[in-house]
Amino acid sequence: MKANIRSACPWLSLLMLLSLVLAACGGGSGQSQTLNVLISYNSTYPAQQRQWMQQIASEFQKATGATIAWDTFSSSSEEQTKLQTSIVSGSGPDVFSFGTTFVPTAQSTKGFTVLTDQNWKQVGGKGRFFQQQLTMAGSSPNQSIAVPFVMRPFAMVYNKELFQKAGITTAPTTWTEFVQDAQKMTNPSAGVYGAEIDPSDSFDPWKIWWMFAEQMGGSFISQDLKTAQMNSPEAVQAVKFWFDWATTYKIVDPNSMAWKAGDAVKAFANGNVGMLIMTTSTLKPTLQKSSVAGKYAFAPMPTVPYGLQQRPANGVPAATIVSGDMLAVADYSNVKDLAFKFINLVTDYQHQVQWTKTFGDLPVNVQAANDLASQDPLTAAFIKAEADATPTPFTGEWGPLEVALAGVSSKLANEVATNRYDPSHIKPLLDQANQQIQSGLH
């Protein structure tokens, strides 16, 4: 008998382990349906975001009987990791929220539902959304994977007090004027500089260089998306012009080579910077609590390249990329209908207006945008900027391209910081980045 018990023990332990595994796997069965949603954590309005989540979950439950399980990410790194693990494992959030420029990379994973006409009807129809936003919804109109959620056009913000002191009456419309205005405001002994630069940031460098290059008629990737052109003369000039702010025109803080976007915002908020480019209206709450509260204004970024009176024939304004957040439904989701009902809910007129009033992002819902624009000139200006936005090339290599350009920026910042900078180093660095991105273009 004792021997029998002993021989049964290994089987018993195995059975217990299996029971635990099965219990863990089957924990959710038999309950009401749940929609898992992953969105960006709002560090500026955490309490309001919690409240919004509760409200949406409550309304969603009333309408569908299903519950929402929220998950948030606080950085692009965290977002990418969650997306990658979900795609590989075939489980995770049903609805993902990600930035417009990440949609191409997300689509290249083939892990998201391609929207049918029926799906578009479920989310209110394409006519509900800004047309420019739809250019980043998928590789082609028939291959859309993402639905616009909010938009965030880029602009520049300037210090009105510093403008006044320097005798500047209007925001610059060309980069030549920008440099001249910045030089007028720069006063190193007072720690004041006309502009800022953040070459150690992961994202700002590529956005700024892309804008400069597009305005000069260049592009980082050819129109057929098969050839990388990150080392074109326009791209080299774009990079050089930005670093000239520090090395030639001396319009930025010489200590800013290690800066990230947050450091630049902090300097502007402290009243030490005249013009902060590539920013969005979501900066307002931060600035309202700072020493420049009431002393700042937004304006479109200049659209004419440095040294020119007008853009070259093939140049585009590119004052902003098509920017904002989009919602996509994971292909592995088994509650896709619920997912589209959720998207329909958060992009309808009422909720889009509410979102804008609470968080400051602009609505992608055309009707909501028009109504808000008619009430506030600043909102109207931003909405107009978004209407003229230029989409970034829709390729799965765009994500790696951003990282590659951040690498180039970091190396050049290293050179400036250690007094080894030479503009002739830009081309070889861009050549190297271009070669690596080219190898990944499909």
């Binding site: 023990c9 290994p10 332990s13 195995l14 217990m16 382990l17 790194s77 990418q80 990791t81 990658q84 795609i87 590989v88 990379t105 290249s108 994973t109 083939k110 892990g111 150690s200 940031d201 992961s202 803080d253 010489p254 200590n255 080579m257 290690a258 990230k260 450091d263 799965g396 994500g399 790696p400 990282v403 590659a404 951040a406 690498g407 970091s410 190396k411 910042a413 290293n414 910081a417 250690t418 190297q432 980045a433 690596q436 991105i437 990944g440 499909h442």
Partner: protein, 323 residues
């Protein structure tokens, strides 16, 4: 008069194991089946992911093939060659990052070892306020690494950071000296890590010191040993094993430290601070080149096994010598 080093281990009483027969065998009738749940978990949590990582290192696995990763194109040793030569688009090859990581981990361990030993000696004997000092010593170690990194990042900011201000005040360096870029970034990383981790050696050494009995010190006093003789002939030989373990663990920990450089420098980091874990992270999760990241991880694993292997060999050698 000379003090003879005392043997670090006392020979254990000889155990005579009776030969077992049949089912009792080498396990001596112990309920060895009880370890099966642990072994199963180890296989699931460590063994299988390790095998998958090795498999991935031979694949061209990127964003296009991620979903059906098992069918990703096989590239043989291609990722290993790329890892050791070309590197990723940021520029640092695995070999470069390996050099940075090795220098960082060895140098940091080298610096924190005497600090940790000295700190442990200062609180080994009883005195008023010893508990408070012991608690204070642990503060850097218990602060989360990302907080430490954030604080040091602010301190190392050129122009406005405390480090530059202090160095400028005592006329050692220019107030605009860059610490987060260029060659200084390596030293910034070392300084921050030394501050955060010396307490590990301190804890280990203190544990070793506490295990040395009073009788040994008293015997040394009777023989007229000086403090230096007690340190070099009694304390350090007694600490040899625990110190070796502390050095090994410390080196491995520093080599694998991802959070500190990630938060201090962000991505992409300066080349001088592009440690291997950060390089692997950027290659895998930001550039979607999982094959390359996998190859770098396997290289790291092999390198990490070397000190561990040497340590185990040394330990066995010590046991044989002692017996």
């Amino acid at each position: 008069m000379s003090i003879q080093p005392i043997p670090e281990t006392v020979p254990a009483p000889t155990l005579v194991l009776r030969p077992e027969r049949g089912r009792r065998g080498i396990f001596g009738g112990r309920p060895i089946w009880l370890i099966w749940p642990s072994i199963t978990l180890l296989v699931v949590i460590i063994g299988i992911p390790l095998l998958i990582a090795i498999y991935i290192s031979f694949l061209n696995l990127d964003q296009y093939t991620l979903r059906s990763w098992i069918q990703a194109p096989w590239v043989g040793l291609g990722n290993y060659v790329t890892a050791l030569t070309a590197g990723n688009v940021i520029g640092a090859s695995a070999l470069t990052s390996l050099g940075v990581s090795l220098a960082f981990s060895l140098l940091t361990t080298l610096i924190i070892t005497p600090i940790g030993i000295l700190a442990a000696l200062t609180v080994n004997t009883r005195y008023r306020g010893r508990t408070l000092v012991r608690t204070l010593y642990l503060v850097p170690y218990v602060i989360p690494t990302f907080v430490t990194a954030l604080v040091w990042r602010q301190m190392f900011l050129n122009g406005t950071g405390l480090v530059d201000r202090f160095l400028a005040a005592i006329h050692v360096a220019n107030i605009n000296t860059y610490w987060l870029l260029g060659p200084n970034s390596f030293w910034a990383m070392v300084i921050a890590d030394v501050w955060a981790s010396w307490a590990f050696i301190y804890i280990m050494v203190l544990a070793g010191l506490q295990s040395i009995t009073h009788e040994v010190y008293e015997a040394a006093d009777v023989d007229g040993a000086s403090s230096w003789q007690k340190l070099t002939r009694i304390v350090l030989p007694q600490l040899r094993h625990i110190l070796a373990l502390a050095l090994l663990l410390s080196t491995l920990y520093h080599f694998n430290n991802f959070t500190l450089p990630f938060v201090m420098f962000g991505t992409p980091p300066p080349l001088q601070a592009d440690v291997l874990p950060l390089n692997i992270y950027v290659s895998s999760f930001q550039l979607f080149n999982f094959g390359l990241g996998g190859a770098m991880s396997v290289i790291t694993l092999i390198i990490m096994l070397i000190p561990g292997f040497v340590y185990i060999r040394a330990l066995r050698l010590g046991e044989v010598t002692a017996s």
